[in-house]
Structure formats: C-alpha cells, structure tokens
C-alpha cells in the first residue's frame, strides 16, 4: 500500500521530520535519526566561530548525516528581512531551495509573528523557495500561507520545546480537513501518544526534536516516534468509530449461557 507524503512534487516515505539539536552527543543524534526512519532532518544557520572563539556545537552534523535531506530553518529570526537572508544563505550553503520558515514574534513563547510570516512567505515563494512556514494553529493563517504558495503549513501542536502535546485538537483537525497543502504538525510534541494524536487528526506529517533529543533514551524514543506516526497514520486512514455516550456490547447477545 503506497502512502507517500508528497511535498512540492517530492515523494517521501517517512512522515516524520526530525530535528538535530540538543542531543547528549552527536553519536546519539546520528543513531536517533537512523532509528526514527526519517528522510528529512532540520538544521539551523549560524555565524561561524571567529578565531579564538569556541567552535559551535553540532558543526559536524552535515558530515554525520550525509545522505539525509537537510531542511534548513530560520529559527531565531524576528523579521521577514532576516528570515529571507537566512533562507538565501541556507540555499547557498546546502544547495536546497526548501526552507522551514520561522519568524518569531515573541521571545518568551516563541510564537510566530503572523504578519512577518506572511510577508516572508510571499517573498520567498517569489524567490523560488519551497516554503514550509511554522505557524500558529489558526485555520485562516494556514489558508493564507497556502494561498501565497507555501508548499506545506506547519501549525504548532503547542509551544516550541514545551512537550505539552496537541493543545488545540479541534483547531488542528479543522486545519487538516480544509488544507489544500500538507499539514506538518511542528512543535510541542512530548511523547509518542502526542504524535499519534496529531496523525489521527489528519496531519500529513510531524516535525519534532526535543521530545527525542531530551528523552532519557533518545534512540529508543526515536523508534517510538516512528511507530507512533505509522500507527496514527494507519488509524486515520482506517477511520475511527464515532464516539457515543453509552455502552454497546461487542459480543453477540443471543445464546448467552444460562439464558
């Protein structure tokens, strides 16, 4: 049964996108990526250390993960201008026109800035990028981003790095039901059941990082996430039963012993 995720015409067999930051060490990061079964890993763009400065952690990530598809992010950018320059630098550095677009509007909550996000999406699409914007779980914002040419939308499950899971399943279900482009739930996933819920709500994929990288055993959690996303996707395709407020026996009522 072929059930590929298609983004901007590219066919992907894994519906999990994994971040590469915050692991106990780079070996565990590499093993977790492998265990997750993902094809796409996210990376950030940062200034190189100047002579005399300590080298940045994770600078060997590209070498360790050669063969994976890199999805650069614009994490930390607070304006469309900075996000666009970061995307252009990433395209040059990694020879990919895909970008996970983040434009943060508030440093405490890391909530996206909708206005800057819309502006950055518009301009990056014009510049030939495949734009995957991280956005709030707002159906109208998701619609606007898709209308502007975003290749997918990436509504938050809950706050970045919070592990709070899917804060607003009703909104997410609504977004998934109406979206013309793939919906990738990004941020907030805490454990495997959160990923299952996202997929059961109709998400096309899940992007996560901290739930794996900060787990007691990141490699085992990466395996759990792979299975969770497969299970959630299968359940969504299978179609769940409606919920009802009364019991209904599953065994036949006729021929009971002693009746």
């Amino acid at each position: 049964m072929s059930d590929q995720l298609i983004i901007a015409g590219e066919s992907l067999s894994s519906r999990l996108l994994l971040g590469t930051a915050g692991y106990p060490n780079q070996r565990i990061m590499r093993d977790a990526v492998k265990a997750s079964g993902c094809e796409i890993v996210t990376v950030s763009m940062r200034r190189v250390a100047l002579p005399g400065q300590e080298q940045r952690h994770g600078s060997d990530t590209l070498d360790l993960l050669s063969g994976y598809r890199f999805l650069p992010n614009t994490a930390g950018c607070e304006t469309a201008r900075d996000a666009i320059l970061t995307a252009e630098l990433a395209r040059e550095a990694l020879e990919t026109n895909w970008v996970k677009l983040e434009v943060i509007g508030d440093r405490e909550t890391l909530y996206p800035d909708a206005g800057e996000l819309i502006e950055a999406t518009r301009r990056l699409v014009d510049l030939g990028f495949v734009v995957l914007p991280y956005c709030s779980d707002d159906p109208v914002l998701c619609q606007r981003l898709a209308d502007l040419g975003a290749a997918a939308v990436m509504p938050m499950g809950s706050l970045i790095g919070s592990g709070m899971g899917i804060a607003n399943p009703a909104n997410l279900e609504l977004i998934c039901r109406r979206s013309a482009v793939p919906v990738i739930v990004d941020a907030g996933i805490g454990t495997a059941s959160d990923a299952v819920i996202a997929m059961e709500l109709g998400a096309s994929a899940v992007l996560l990082n901290t739930a794996v990288s900060r787990a007691d055993d990141p490699v085992a959690m990466a395996s759990a996430m792979r299975l969770a996303i497969e299970a959630g996707r299968l359940a969504w395709r299978a179609g769940r039963i409606p919920k009802r407020g009364r019991a209904e026996p599953s065994s036949p009522q006729l021929g009971l012993v002693g009746s």
Partner: protein, 79 residues
C-alpha cells in the same frame, strides 16, 4: 581598514591581498573547519556582505571597503 565580521570589528592590512573578500572569507571558513578546503567544497557555508548574499562564484571578484559587514555562516544542528 576596519571590517565587521560576524558582529566583531577587525582591522585588515589593505595594502596586500590579505584584505580581499575571498581571502577573508576562506580564512574564516578554514578556521571553522579546522582544516583547509577548496572554495568549491565550502558546502555548508555561506556569506553575506552588508545584508546581501554573495554567491560562492562571486567571492573572488567581490570588492570590500572600510566599514563593510561580512556575515559568514554555516549549517549547524537545529530543530
């Protein structure tokens, strides 16, 4: 000649070839790599001059002037 590199102002001798955009860029990339690499294989790195991307092919012929801001970035772990 003072050039701002990744937010830190540095003084360069503008009489020799040391103060070319290409030389400054490659020197910093080599430092970050811990070993020398050819310009063509500077994968993972990119450079902006005064807020605008400078494509790799343009590094050799990009002029610099006092007060220029150079951003040299690389791909790192990220979420």
């Amino acid at each position: 000649m003072k050039i701002n590199i990744n937010g830190i102002e540095q003084e360069f001798d503008c009489t020799g070839s040391q103060a070319s955009f290409r030389q400054i860029s490659l020197q910093h990339i080599w430092e970050a790599h811990g070993r020398e690499r050819e310009i063509e294989s500077a994968r993972g790195f990119a450079i902006a001059l005064n807020g605008h991307l400078v494509r790799r092919a343009q590094w050799p012929q990009t002029p610099i002037a006092p007060g220029d801001r150079i951003e040299i970035v690389r791909a790192l772990s990220g979420g």
